[in-house]
């Protein structure tokens, strides 16, 4: 393909190993992150067929989904839940057997795969990166083509360092305007999902562009790309720029010296060429948005905090109407209720969407000098040991604890409730995670997705609240 190219086209074409006549491509995969939930069967597959890992050093293994976040947690052998402990032991044994780098639960670098990849410089512009986890889209914030795969594809990458794929379509979402006070990258991406819907990006790679995206920090860009999958697209992308290089410089797995200069020179060629075209273009002005919150059981069910629970009777599409009715029944909400009247039982600040240092700072700034409502249990789960250390150096843990938040060890935690951090049936949360699906945070649990600032505000108020009232 000649002529102007998009960022996606450039990465895709530079990773083509083979192309069949029917259009099926064999794509080289530079990097793979591996965690305990989606990998055991892949390693079994290798063993059964007598295959090795083709490039062990191109992988990085870390447990995150199943790890306890209890303060002062011990090693793997101290995990009480048998199934969880065994999954961690199996990952460690598999990493050793196949020679893959492994970060243990006791290592200060341990954390959520999508937090530690960038922290370690494992994530770099222009690379292809996969993980058996849909939120791999996060790494697109660095201009890496990063997407989630299933376990069979984890095995395929281990054995061949490639994947069989078809090219995605190009979508560009141009975001203009400056985020108003009280609004963050999380509000921006929730607004996008609300606009295009949870299947809006299916079959596409979404490139986020425009002044509002350029203004975001790397942490903010990661939050936006992270939730690309909630808009149906496997991968999100932001063109690498000086902020990207600044973030990466000196990270353990980034090139050094002359190779760093060489790498940056190549990375500067990645942004989309002038005149390149997209299959789909979307525009969004964020200058008028208000802090976002979800009311239903799909991430597209979002509304401004100043709004009311929508009425299915006002919706003409029958499928949409019945989905809304089911959501409201599950969420135990009535049309017309003010969003700020919805009481919460638990608040969760964490997950691969919002557990980085900037998120910790934003939530702590809101929490400072206030108290968590008596009726609320609020937990803060940093995304990695390094985020935790940084936050503690800045005294954020003390601010949270003085306000009545629980300060925990890193992991995926209540985002998907595999490790014992969960909602009880009927309980309601304000959560900085990415999915409000039925049962996601525990069977019968009800989730409202919000930003870290909004989560802190809900913890203090005891109900969903407009953070702008607290920070005035």
């Amino acid at each position: 393909m000649s002529g102007p190219k998009t960022l996606f086209d450039k990465i895709w074409e530079s990773h083509l190993v083979d192309q069949q006549d029917d259009g099926t491509c064999l794509v080289y995969i530079d990097r793979q992150l591996i965690h305990e939930i989606t990998s055991a069967q892949a390693f079994d597959g290798l063993r059964e067929s007598g295959r090795k890992a083709r490039r062990p050093e191109a992988n990085l293994c870390v447990p995150d989904h199943n790890v306890p976040t209890t303060p002062g947690r011990g090693g793997t052998d101290e995990i009480e839940d048998d199934a969880s402990r065994i999954q961690l032991e199996v990952l460690e044994a598999n990493a050793a057997e196949f020679g893959l780098p492994y970060i243990s639960i006791n290592d200060e670098r341990q954390g959520i795969v999508h937090v530690i990849g960038p922290e370690q410089g494992f994530t770099q512009p222009g690379v292809t990166l996969v993980c058996g986890d849909s939120h791999t889209a996060t790494h697109g914030a660095f201009g890496a083509l990063a997407f989630g795969v299933g376990t069979s594809e984890v095995e395929h990458v281990l054995a061949t360092q490639t994947l069989i794929q078809r090219p995605a379509k190009n979508m560009r979402i141009t975001v203009t305007g400056s985020l108003p006070e009280g609004c963050t990258a999380k509000d921006l991406v929730l607004a996008i999902i609300g606009k295009i819907g949870t299947a809006g990006g299916t079959g596409h790679v979404i490139e986020y562009a425009g002044p509002a995206i350029e203004e975001l920090s790397m942490e903010g860009r990661m939050t936006v790309c992270n939730m690309t999958i909630e808009a149906g697209a496997r991968a999100g992308l932001v063109a690498p720029d000086e902020k990207t290089f600044e973030y990466l410089k000196g990270r353990p797995q980034c090139p050094k010296g002359a190779q760093w200069e060489m790498a940056v020179e190549q990375w500067r060629k990645l942004p989309t060429d002038v005149g390149a075209t997209y299959d789909t273009e979307i525009q969004l002005d964020v200058s008028e948005i208000v802090p976002q919150v979800t009311w239903g059981t799909s991430p597209e069910d979002e509304i401004g905090i100043t709004g009311v629970v929508p009425d299915p009777a006002q919706v003409s599409d029958a499928n949409r109407r019945s989905a809304m009715e089911r959501s409201l029944e599950y969420m135990d909400l009535k049309p017309g209720m003010k969003m700020t009247d919805i009481a919460v039982d638990k608040v969760f600040i964490g997950s691969c969407t919002n557990s980085r240092i900037e998120d910790m700072r934003a939530a702590a700034a809101v929490a400072k000098g206030h108290k968590v409502a008596d009726s609320v249990y609020a937990m803060v789960v940093p995304g990695s040991g390094l985020v935790k250390m940084q936050a503690e150096e800045e005294g954020l843990d003390k601010i949270f604890e003085e306000a009545g938040f629980h300060w925990r060890e890193p992991g995926c935690s209540m985002c998907l409730a595999m490790n014992g951090d969960m909602l009880q049936p009927g309980e309601r949360s304000a959560s900085t995670s990415n999915r409000n699906f039925e049962g996601r945070q525990g069977p019968g649990g009800r989730t409202h997705l919000v930003s870290p600032m909004m989560a802190a505000a809900a913890a203090i108020a005891g109900h969903l609240a407009d953070v702008r009232d607290l920070i005035k």
């Binding site: 190993v17 055991a40 360092q161 999915r435 699906f437």
Partner: protein, 204 residues
């Protein structure tokens, strides 16, 4: 994986839009180390009462007519959310070999085809016809023929469907992707040699 050629079976109607993978198989069942045994928890939140664990008699797969379903006729955007391959593993373990909808999430689509499950995209009008066909119950089976790319609804009406030619080839022959890719080993090695020269830091 097991071949998929032609299937005549009961089809269960599941007209839920955006049916996510947490509904198909909740995260708490992902602590397994095998690909099998997940069928009993397929659609767990819909199939069982969360408090008592009893079967919900209103859920389609709990109804006598649909207990042996091998085809699902599902609402738009089936399989959205997580990349967990446990979702197709649970479907397969229950006995589902084919899902028909107007659209599927990308990752779920790939994962299913690697496990011998045929996913078929149809138009909204065709889905409506098939949903009606599925609602006729156990005495009204559907036939899905991959070779001729044809669904025969329970009333005998035929619907032609599109399918990716490579995925069709793999499904018809039960081919292992990794085995196919390893035949291109020399291309992979050549790619690595070239990349190592131009981006040596990726090989440090």
């Amino acid at each position: 994986m097991e071949k998929f050629t032609k299937l005549t079976a009961v089809a269960a109607p599941l007209p839920i839009v955006n049916c996510d993978t947490d509904k198909i198989i909740p995260a708490r069942f992902l602590k397994t180390l095998t690909r099998t045994g997940l069928g009993k928890n397929l659609f767990d939140p819909l199939r069982y009462d969360p408090k008592t664990g009893e079967e919900n008699p209103d859920f389609v797969l709990n109804k006598p007519a649909y207990r042996n379903s091998e085809i699902l006729v599902a609402g738009h955007n089936f399989g959205c959310g997580s990349s967990r391959e446990h979702a197709p593993w649970a479907l397969l373990d229950f006995g589902i070999r084919c899902v028909i909808s107007t659209d599927f999430a990308d990752i779920f689509y790939n994962n299913s085809s690697k496990n011998g499950i045929l996913l078929i995209k149809v138009s909204p009008e065709e889905l409506e016809q098939l949903m009606e066909g599925a609602e006729r119950g156990a005495n009204a089976t559907m036939t899905v023929d991959l070779e001729s790319q044809e669904i025969t609804n329970s009333d005998g009406e035929k619907i032609i469907f599109e399918v990716d030619s490579f995925k069709k080839h793999c499904l018809l022959n039960g081919l292992d992707d990794i085995g196919l890719t390893l035949k291109k080993e020399s291309s992979i090695s050549a790619y690595e040699k070239k990349q190592k020269a131009s981006e040596p830091w990726l090989y440090a």
